[in-house]
């Protein structure tokens, strides 16, 4: 069997498109002196009290499996957290599942709800895993394109237009990766109306909920009547700076969580025990640190948005997450060409918008989860790049 002989690999996996992020990673990692604004994770290290609590659990010998759905104590802590922060009530006993990152929760959610061929409405530009997760679960993604005119917030009419008799679910993500767009209560209410009318379920990826900067966060599940139709997905990766711990959760109606837990029980058993003990500490005593990190992201967001607009890369002020999604249309280049040229010429890595869906063409994703020193240098280099292309005059 040769390297290229892949007749053992299933057809539908061969057909699965490789992520465009991968190519950029390969390019950028071969170069020196690169400042990366291409990173989709916090620049903070996990708060020390969380690391220490996890050590402690190991020292105490908590090295065995936990319950399939996760440590009961942790589920209780998540339940309290969701109730106090987002005013949604979930029972620790049967409405919560601790997963291996939000990623696994997304995977299991679709496997639990989709019959072959059922459609899921996905709003692009979107996180890269959504479409593959739906396809792997046998479903059919139906893309709706959020527009810059509406600050990348999907309009209820767009969703309505995409509904067919086969529509089963809508996947929402607010604050959004890669646009930073955030849906407010009014936006969510409008969508809830459609959801109810067409008897749909919503998979709501709320992993950036704690990183909403100017407004009070509204969970989709907190909208009237939606708690019975929502699978709320979140986790510890972003707000607690715990990406490598691989810990997330899903909250939803007992029937769906039961179905998800069934899949989880056979395929994963349980999320890593030491990570669960760390997460427990994060919820108990980590909230202050989250606020500090959030403040710091907000300041950096303000700085980057101003600097980008000043150099002719226009973008609105995104409500949350740690991404800005400026337009590069004025350069006349494609997203990929722009990102490659910027990397070659100035050693700044950004992610071309089209990897997040066709509607991301004409944009780049810049993550501001980098130190102020790095951001300042990156902005300087990008300005230089724009100057070279005669797109900004130095005043």
């Amino acid at each position: 069997m040769t390297e290229s002989d892949n007749h053992f690999v299933a057809d539908h996996i061969q057909d699965l498109k490789p992520s465009g992020i991968r190519r950029f990673f390969d390019l950028a990692s071969q170069m020196d002196n690169v400042i990366s604004l291409g990173v989709g994770e916090p620049d903070f290290v996990t708060p020390w009290n969380v690391i220490e609590a996890s050590y402690h659990s190991l020292e105490q010998g908590y090295t065995a499996y936990t319950a399939n759905a996760g440590l009961f104590e942790l589920r209780e802590a998540v339940s309290n957290f969701l109730a106090t922060e987002y005013h949604v009530s979930y029972r620790a006993e049967d409405q919560l599942l601790i997963t291996v990152g939000a990623s696994q929760a997304i995977d299991v959610a679709f496997r639990a709800i989709l019959n072959p061929g059922e459609e899921v409405i996905v709003i692009e530009p979107s996180f890269v895993s959504y479409i593959p997760a739906i396809e792997l679960a046998g479903g059919k993604p139906v893309v709706v394109e959020a527009e810059e005119t509406f600050e990348f917030k999907v309009q209820k009419e767009q969703i309505e237009a995409a509904i067919t008799p086969n529509t089963k679910a809508i996947l929402l993500c607010s604050p959004n990766n890669p646009t930073g767009a955030s849906l407010d209560e009014q936006d969510l209410r409008a969508i809830a109306g459609v959801v109810k009318e067409h008897d749909l379920v919503v998979v709501s990826d709320e992993i950036y909920a704690d990183l909403l900067y100017d407004d009070v966060y509204t969970s989709f599940a907190s909208i009237d009547g939606m708690i019975d139709r929502t699978i709320l997905i979140s986790g510890f990766s972003k707000s607690f700076a715990m990406t490598g711990w691989r810990l997330g959760y899903a909250a939803g109606p007992a029937s769906i969580i039961k179905a998800m837990t069934k899949i989880h029980q056979y395929t994963i058993m349980c999320a890593p025990t030491m990570a669960q003990y760390g997460a427990l500490e994060a919820l108990k005593n980590g909230r202050v640190k989250v606020q500090e990190m959030k403040n710091s992201y907000r300041q950096r967001r303000n700085y980057v948005v101003k600097a980008l607009n000043d150099m002719g890369l226009t973008c609105h002020l995104p409500g949350g997450a740690f991404y800005v999604f400026p337009s590069i249309k004025a350069t006349g280049m494609t997203s990929e060409a722009f990102a490659e040229a910027l990397l070659e010429d100035q050693r700044v890595a950004v992610v071309p918008g089209n990897v997040f869906g066709a509607s991301g063409e004409g944009y780049i994703r810049c993550s501001y989860a980098a130190s102020m020193k790095q951001l300042a240098e990156a902005m300087k280099r990008m300005r230089e790049f724009m100057k070279k292309m005669n797109l900004v005059d130095e005043s």
């Binding site: 992520s19 992020i21 950029f24 990673f25 950028a28 990692s29 690169v34 990366s36 291409g38 990173v39 989709g40 994770e41 620049d43 996180f127 890269v128 895993s129 990766n177 403040n295 300041q299 950096r300 303000n302 700085y303 101003k306 600097a307 890595a349 992610v351 102020m372 300042a376």
Partner: protein, 165 residues
């Protein structure tokens, strides 16, 4: 004090070299507003100065000895501890002075070029003050962390992959 002022102070406290312009864009004000705000905070002595945290151990030929001294004193009638505290903090080599609860009264941090210099300060200047009852001197052997900053070399701190979803 308004929220923006506190935000500005926190930014300057963690990095005194941030330009007014950078601060302005971080906290959504104009540059002129930031400049005026800093001036006001300086005038009302909320901002007392701008210093740089230096790891002197890394600078060759420049040895600094630091000691922490616990001092028991007799307070003065009518003035309490303030009078003796002032006598002590006016010495240039005293870098910090606090009134403490617990087993002793004053805690002071002192810097000098040699241990000798510090012990001379203790025997000649400090112990001889009327109100000073006793002193205990602890020399600092190694600085791990100071003012919230870890002194160990932290090379290659960014452990993330260059590009990720």
């Amino acid at each position: 004090m308004e929220a923006k002022e506190i935000e500005l102070l926190q930014l300057l406290e963690s990095n005194g070299r941030l330009s007014d312009e950078t601060i302005a864009s971080m906290i959504e004000l104009d540059k002129e507003e930031v400049t005026a705000m800093i001036e006001r905070l300086e005038n009302e002595c909320s901002i007392l100065g701008y210093s740089t945290l230096i790891n002197w151990a890394k600078v060759l030929n420049e040895e600094v000895v630091t000691a922490m001294i616990e001092v028991k004193v007799t307070p003065t009638r009518g003035k309490g501890f303030d009078q003796v505290a002032e006598r002590i903090y006016r010495f240039e080599e005293v870098k910090a002075l606090y009134l403490m609860s617990g087993g002793y009264d004053l805690s002071l941090t002192i810097e000098g070029n040699t241990m000798m210099e510090i012990s001379r300060f203790v025997s000649d200047k400090l112990s001889t003050l009327d109100s000073v009852v006793s002193t205990v001197t602890h020399f600092v052997l190694k600085k791990y962390k100071h003012d919230g900053v870890i002194f160990e070399d932290q090379q290659d701190t960014d452990k993330r992959m260059v590009v990720s979803p």
